[in-house]
Symmetry: C2
Subunit: 407 residues, 2 copies
């Protein structure tokens, strides 16, 4: 199996979904690129017993264990102490580190008018400077230091890399973790594990399964996973370099079986393809949207520099005033797309409207034609937006990359 | 410790972050309300060995194990088979179930013009009708059935509840899982574990830690976790009914130490407070935003029915044409907020602008005054939006709920 790593993400706020875990997936992907295989991520609340059993579980099947979070100044931040215990190393105060952390805290506090509670701040700093004996310190990228903690002499187990919870702190500390001698020893000379992604629009999983079954023996050495969401089917293949011929069999066969539906053979997301197509044609785009309340504009502006404006309308009155009165439904969406072009002087207009309860009408008007579609999307606001977003992006993609009938 | 449950979330797409896990947090929260304690969620890729060790790990410390995902028709969907093996039960074809699934698939396919690949569809249906011998079937809410799988006779271990991966299917199946006799036996008579949330804006974690240390002995029986993100400090307390007096000590002390910063003593989120304040005053709101590209409008419209419009501007030209030429920076944000009021006939206007690289200027203008603020928010587009969103909402909250100086 090569080198394997396990990840522990700590924090009751993550366990209960109040905060989305960005660290587990980020670390899994970074490790995959290095050729290190991650099979399990354990999310634990802020309880020492649960963290300890999670560390012991992952130690049994992995060459490296990485933790994120639990390094803050409050009593529920207990990762360093539990890792010290599991690795059989006593915690000790690193006084030089304490001074470096104090200097960081002083500098940060200065921005906000100085330390408000010096005593509370000193206690917090001291807690963050408690380090398992024999561990290497990774310099703080926020206020908390990271740690590389080998198992105690005479015992057997993988080293544990302790990283902070805030994603940008963790990501900035990662290069130092990889440069650490203990970590380098584990991941040296690991052969790279590659990854390739195909994306299809409008294909049921069972149809793809038939293609995969037919190819079966030609796919040796590939690890293929599929995932369907909001109409997009994502096919991800992980493979060692020597299995690459199998990957190309797969790409060819999926392209032959689903020529219209395979919209991305190189993993590019629909947002990126739309941004590229707009940029290649030098076309600007603008949006007039009801039903999605700004979410379509937000999605387009996040990836494309070609957006020149957006208008969010929320009432029947404003929707019908944007189109002509009475032109609701599919015709209303086209009227809104035309209005988007006129209002912002854009080459491409996008209209999203919903007057009936369950149906959302989408339209794209370009200099060379128009396309429209109706999506059935009842339910909670997040679910409606989750379905309409991809539908709008794919309608745009089709309008920009295929021949369109004259408008 | 009472009754404990462990959760396994399957899917390489979740492990690697291509899909956000909504099921682990949702199940953890549902179980908490029932008084069942969840300490660990394990995310595993689509590999039988990793799933098996995760199930064995959770079986050791829990009274109930719940899985989500891996019930689809492709070969990487292997949960039912692995659970059968771990629980010591042989898989068998449930022919009546196979017919029910086939009927569902036929009905779904009819909407899209009929089954395109009948043979592929039949194989997929048969796979989904393979059930561990002695398990109870939970009727499909999509196409996949759920399962309740007790451990084989003569062996020791918790029952495993197998649920589908798509969040709405899982959530619709959950009542049937709770009604199952095997599950009811585990969770009968569990005392409820309550939860209370405080939210503060602009308080460092170390200051709150000082308050918690001072109260220490008065907080017996409370499990308190804190989480700081984007300037909001969330304090979540989980407690059994008899520890309620400690909770009120905590609420009083936090209110006394941070009277200005404690904006929610009952867990309500800032979005909800803004929506309520707008509704209470009968004020409509409109947004003109640069820098956030529609994200502020999208956030407001998702929770409030008082939004009458939004305008997304993206270029320096359109920003300065919205304000008066030259009035960029803080004054530009106020001009944009005024424009939002005028353009959409709104009572409250919100302006968000960024002309310099790092600084985003925010302004709120109400019928009785105005407030503005500058946020330093450099970095990737998601990070910028992540910081500005809360800042805008809190500026709105302050403008709507506090006395404001005349504009």
């Amino acid at each position: 199996m090569g080198v394997r790593a396990g990840i522990v993400v700590t924090g009751t706020e993550v366990l209960t979904g109040r905060v989305r875990d960005l660290n587990g997936p980020w670390l899994a992907e970074e490790l995959r690129r290095l050729g290190v295989d991650v099979g399990q991520v354990v999310v634990v609340g802020d309880r020492p017993d649960d963290l300890r059993t999670a560390l012991e579980f992952l130690a049994a099947g992995n060459d490296l264990v990485i933790t994120s979070g639990g390094l803050g100044p409050t009593a529920d931040d207990l990762t360093a102490a539990v890792v010290a215990q599991v690795q059989g190393r006593a915690p000790r105060l690193d006084q030089a580190l304490e001074q470096r952390i104090a200097a960081i805290v002083a500098r940060l506090s200065a921005r906000f008018g100085g330390v408000r509670h010096p005593e509370a701040s000193a206690i917090a700093t001291r807690k963050q400077a408690m380090v398992p004996d024999g561990a290497d310190v990774l310099e703080p990228t926020g206020t908390a230091p990271g740690l590389v903690v080998p198992v105690a002499v005479g015992r057997v187990g993988p080293p544990v890399v302790v990283l902070p919870g805030p994603p940008w702190e963790l990501q900035r500390m990662w290069p130092a973790a990889l440069a650490n001698a203990v970590v380098r020893k584990v991941i040296a000379d690991v052969p790279e594990l590659r990854q390739h992604t195909l994306r299809l629009w409008g294909v049921p999983e069972s149809d793809l399964a038939a293609t995969l079954r037919r190819l079966d023996s030609e796919l040796a050495g590939l690890e293929i996973t599929t995932c369907l969401r909001d109409g997009e089917l994502e096919v991800v293949t992980r493979y060692p370099a020597e299995a690459e011929p199998g990957l190309w069999h797969l790409v060819d066969a999926v392209g032959a079986d689903f020529p219209e539906q395979l919209f991305s053979a190189d993993g590019a997301e629909v947002d990126e393809l739309v941004a590229r197509a707009l940029s290649d044609r030098g076309w600007s785009v603008a949006v007039v949207e009801a039903a999605t309340g700004g979410a379509v504009s937000a999605r387009l502006t996040a990836r494309s520099g070609q957006v020149v404006g957006g208008l969010v309308v929320t009432s029947i009155t404003s929707i019908t005033s944007v189109g002509s009165v009475g032109s609701v439904g599919a015709a209303g969406a086209v009227a809104m797309a035309e209005r988007a072009r006129a209002e912002f002087g854009a080459d491409v207009g996008v209209g999203v409207t919903a007057v009936a309860e369950e149906s959302v009408h989408l339209a794209v008007v370009t200099p060379t034609g128009e396309r429209s579609r109706t999506v059935v999307a009842g339910g909670a606001v997040d679910m409606v937006r989750g379905r309409i977003g991809p539908a709008v992006l794919h309608l745009l993609r089709e309008a920009l990359t295929r021949s369109v009938r004259p408008g």
